[in-house]
């Protein structure tokens, strides 16, 4: 983490988020689909995508009845490295959430369990209906596939398109009203990565002896958390805004293999 301490943490994060967008749209270079599973929510149907969406892929594998070794390995590797840090640092749809994070409010906290319901519903629907139901309402697919294919003459304005637009519209309004609305309450990929939040190498370290309990960190958290009280919460996207704001340095974002007790 020495690099991050030299550069400004949030400047570094913006740079990495930009890299996430560039990576997500790398198909513009003419490269076709690769074997890589994207560590975030990024539609593989996007005309410029070169990576496979983990949520779209697992639905297809469930439909096929395939035991998803490759998928499991990729998710476990991503989770172990950064957990939900990918939401805060890399995912393009997370970055869109970030850009619209005007109101960092602490409301509807229990609704954050909704993302687990979405994840379970996505998997069960794929099994029960042998179809990729989530993809048909996914706002990331609305933005990254439906709209581009409309202009490419592959899609038309029909009922599925309007459903996609309604999903995108509701999500965008939600993002404006509540910071990180999608990441907080609904993202199935966020739910998956959150399973790894407490074991990942990228983590928020808290020094209780340095904390004055001023609550500055809580006013900056886009996920509506109180980092000084719940720094290893499943909803923490490890964006480091709390660490940047902390006047005493009690909170620190670290990337380390060592497991220190807080």
């Amino acid at each position: 983490m020495r690099l991050l301490s030299r550069l400004h943490l949030q400047t570094t994060r913006r740079m990495v988020q930009s890299m996430g967008i560039v990576f997500g749209l790398f198909g513009a270079t003419g490269i076709g689909m690769t074997h890589i599973i994207f560590p975030g929510l990024h539609c593989y149907a996007c005309p410029l995508a070169v990576t496979v969406c983990p949520i779209g892929l697992i639905q297809n594998l469930i439909v096929f009845g395939t035991v998803p070794y490759f998928w499991l390995g990729a998710i476990a590797a991503y989770g172990l490295f950064a957990g939900r840090g990918f939401c805060g640092w890399f995912c393009p749809f997370g970055t869109l959430n970030d850009l619209l994070s005007f109101r960092k409010v602490r409301i509807l906290r229990s609704a954050s369990l909704g993302k687990y319901v979405v994840l379970a519903g996505t998997l069960i629907a794929a099994w029960a209906m042998t179809d990729t139901l989530f993809c048909k309402i996914c706002p990331a697919a609305s933005l990254e596939a439906s709209i581009p294919y409309l202009f490419m003459g592959v899609a038309t304005v029909n009922r599925p398109f309007l459903i996609h637009m309604a999903s995108l519209g509701v999500t965008l309004v939600g993002m404006v009203l509540i910071a990180r609305f999608w990441c907080r309450y609904l993202c199935p990929m966020g739910a998956l990565l959150s399973l790894f939040n407490r074991v990942s190498f990228l983590r928020l370290r808290f020094r209780k002896d340095a904390c004055t309990g001023c609550g500055t960190c809580a006013t900056k958290c886009p996920m509506g958390l109180e980092p000084h009280l719940e720094h290893d919460n499943h909803n923490c996207i490890k964006c480091g805004l709390c660490a940047t704001a902390c006047p005493t340095g009690a909170l620190k974002l670290t990337l380390s293999l060592r497991r220190k007790r807080d």
Partner: protein, 344 residues
């Protein structure tokens, strides 16, 4: 602001990633001599007129990483006066994560109206390490012979017969059971981290060894229009309108033309597009057709321009004579008729 008591997730929550180990362990418990193919027969019942013919399709889906070999149908009992031919007579192999098809041509030369039953066995083999196994699956065909019956075209039966099977449900139950075990016995964080690391490396390596990375790439590289909500999926047999039929009949002395349908075996709307083209061909002798699997013949997909921004779009109906490409199945009857009107 005053400090509130720490609200921490239970330490056990850190163990959750270990649950991902369960499906891998479970796979070792699956008996090697179990059937590996999912078998579906279509249509049911098999409709045919007295003295006529009909084809029954046996769809063999291989959802495993093991190759199945020498799939063959042996007839056990068939009604007198029925002749059955298998096309092909034997399927040499069915690759991992792919499908195979055996068609049985039933000819009811001397059969009166009524319902009959024929039984058969599907036999195939597969090898696991040094051991090879033979699997025998019983098959039953119900034949409904009646005057005026129109045999159903079986080319439209493909991925629609695919099912998820019980494996995901078993996995889910096993995950729950393993969660209880892990939460009860594992306490040290370092053990969890090491286990998650091992899962990641082991599962990735095994996934690559069994070509699952290529399967993932294949899924990402093909855009199925109904799978991501570009249009609604259409199933079943399309029925041409009387206007379409009369217009096709009115085409005066047209040159023979070929229509190509590009499909993927897992695409929901592709059987409908294929059936639509068959329906056109049934009304107009000058239309011939060919169905092309984009995953086995990607070079043809490129040649006939069904690739958009590095995605092969399916279903795609192509008229090579004019270069017309029709994506999806929405209003396909009208669009295909329009395309035929514009033929030189």
């Amino acid at each position: 602001m005053t400090n509130r008591p720490q609200r921490r997730l239970p330490q056990k929550a850190a163990m959750m990633p270990l649950l991902l180990l369960v499906p891998i362990l479970l796979s070792f418990a699956v008996g090697a001599q179990d059937p590996i193919l999912e078998v579906g027969t279509f249509p049911d019942p098999l409709l045919l007129p007295p003295g006529g013919e009909a084809t029954a399709r046996i769809l063999l889906v291989n959802p495993t990483a093991t190759e199945a070999d020498d799939a063959e149908v042996f007839l056990l009992s068939i009604p007198d006066g029925v002749d059955v031919t298998s096309v092909p007579s034997i399927l040499p192999k069915i690759d991992p994560f792919s499908d195979g098809v055996l068609d049985l041509l039933f000819a009811a030369d001397e059969l009166a109206e009524g319902t009959y039953e024929a039984s058969a066995e599907l036999v195939y083999t597969y090898c696991d390490d040094d051991s090879c196994f033979e699997v025998v699956e019983p098959l039953t065909f119900v034949m409904e012979v009646r005057a005026g019956a129109v045999p159903i075209a079986v080319e439209s039966f493909g991925a629609a017969g695919r099912g998820a099977g019980m494996l995901p449900l078993i996995l889910a139950a096993a995950v729950l059971a393993a969660a209880l075990v892990v939460f009860a016995f594992v306490r040290k964080m370092v053990v969890v981290v090491a286990a998650v690391g091992l899962i990641a490396v082991g599962a990735l390596a095994y996934g690559v060894l069994t070509s699952q990375h290529e399967q993932a790439q294949g899924i990402g590289a093909v855009l199925c229009t109904s799978c991501v909500g570009i249009e609604e999926a259409s199933h079943g047999e399309p029925a041409l309108s009387s206007e379409t039929r009369s217009e096709l009949a009115a085409f005066a002395g047209p040159e023979p033309i070929q229509v190509l349908v590009f499909y993927a075996v897992w695409c929901h709307s592709c059987p409908y597009a294929e059936a639509m083209v068959e329906a056109f061909a049934a009304e107009a002798e000058w239309i011939s057709y060919r169905f092309i699997d984009v995953e086995t013949e990607p070079e043809l997909a490129a040649q006939y321009n069904v690739i958009r921004s590095n995605r092969t779009v399916v279903p795609a109906t192509v008229l090579p004579a004019t270069g017309t490409v029709l994506f999806g199945v929405e209003h396909l009857e009208t669009r295909l008729l329009d395309a035929l009107r514009s033929l030189p």
